[in-house]
């Protein structure tokens, strides 16, 4: 293979936002994405929305997966979306939310620009498949 062979790889940011120390789910997802052949950037715990935006913009990720189990999704997710818009990065970033999200809130998040919400028990293959099918064309 020469240095010029096109080698497009799906890049994902797996992010933990706010005061939420439960990262087992995020780790499992990061690992599943890695095994699916994606490049995964993990944010680490307790990130502010601005940090997530900074990381998503600089890393130019195709997919932003936000893991929230604290119940603060209605506050934090819109902030992230707002920030992405500020840097013109909202349009071509696939935003996923994972964690404990009540049904009513899911609708709100989806209407705000989140592509999908994955709750507990979602089979890993479903998430990976969804990313493969919906990763933005660039």
């Amino acid at each position: 293979m020469s240095a010029d062979t096109e080698q497009r790889t799906i890049r994902c940011l797996v992010a933990k936002v706010g005061l939420d120390g439960h990262d087992r789910g995020a780790h499992v997802i990061a690992r599943a994405f890695r095994d699916a052949g994606f490049e995964v950037i993990y944010s680490g715990l307790h990130r502010a929305p601005e940090e997530i935006v900074q990381a998503a913009v600089q890393e130019d990720v195709d997919v932003l997966g936000i893991s929230i189990l604290s119940g603060a999704h209605n506050t934090l997710v819109p902030k992230v979306i707002e920030g992405l818009k500020e840097y013109d990065a909202f349009e071509d970033t696939l935003i996923l939310v994972g964690g404990i999200i009540p049904d009513d809130d899911q609708e709100t998040l989806l209407s705000e620009g989140v592509a999908a919400v994955f709750g507990p028990g979602t089979p890993m293959e479903d998430t990976v498949e969804f990313v493969r099918e919906n990763a933005p064309e660039r």
Partner: protein, 359 residues
Amino acid sequence: MSAAAERELVEELLAGKHRALARVISKVEDREPGYRDIVSALHEHTGHADVIGITGSPGAGKSTLVDKLAAHYRDRGETVGVIAVDPSSPYTGGAVLGDRIRMASNVGDMDVFFRSMSARGTLGGLSTATADAVKALDAFGKDRIIIETVGAGQNEVDIVRTADTVVVLVQPGSGDDVQMLKAGILEIGDLFVVNKADMDGASRTVADLEEMLHMERDPTAKLDTGGFDKPDHPDHPDGEKIGGDTDTEEADEAVWEPMVLETIAKSGEGVVELIETLDAHAQWLDETGRREVKARQRYAAEIRQLLRADAADLIDEELDRRGGVEAMAERVQNRDTDPYTAASDVLGAIEDCVEQQRE
């Protein structure tokens, strides 16, 4: 991507739009069609940044140290770009890029542009991609660019060649002095940093490193009992002696003596000294003209690399046209031909073309 869109992207990058910079680096990484035009357009705007390469084994504290360095540079009002290279899986091509977690001191500061890259497994491809990404950061106007990479294999050595100054990070207790003798570790470093200097065995590691560096610099130190003329060191063909009796000022200036520093990246101890030494090296590069020499060597290597890649593509096309390499291998196996003849058959046509063009 159309030529107009490429021009727009380049313009946006030069205007300081973060999104455009990130997108250009993605294109460079993906080897997307048209990326060459972008890098070509950027080239004239490069050459202003000071590039620092940091390498060391996993867990040595590279990312933490890079974070502290970036914070110090920011305090001085300089902008910083970081490229952190992590390995990817040889089986799936996937990767977990975790260096970003350590960038705690520069949260929310967009003037520190941090980008994770994975070694996507192509030989030579990564170093080209890294060099091009550095150009993008340089054209964007970053004052300092830090490349962070694991290990001291061939790929890593190629990557750090992109840098003006190479820092090798060593952990205390990472083996005895023989480990330090292993190729590729001592040769590439301008600076050696023993991180986690508060750990047991740190002073021993410093001593081992210093001893090995000393031997590297002057292998015959203390062996010269007189009676014969010491041959010139092959790395210094202009005849200047390193150390020893001809220790004039001039000789001091022409040779950079790698040194060993101690840091505790986590608490930031020793980082100021490291920055001072990095500055000293940058100044030395400028004063001796080494920076230009290095840059020229780098460009020469880049041209060679690109030519090799392009020539390989050309040959691949010709191979396909002739029914592929598999069929040829079969003929070789059946003793109908031999590898040398087969190769010169393929190349013959290309050679003829080149010959004709020349006239």
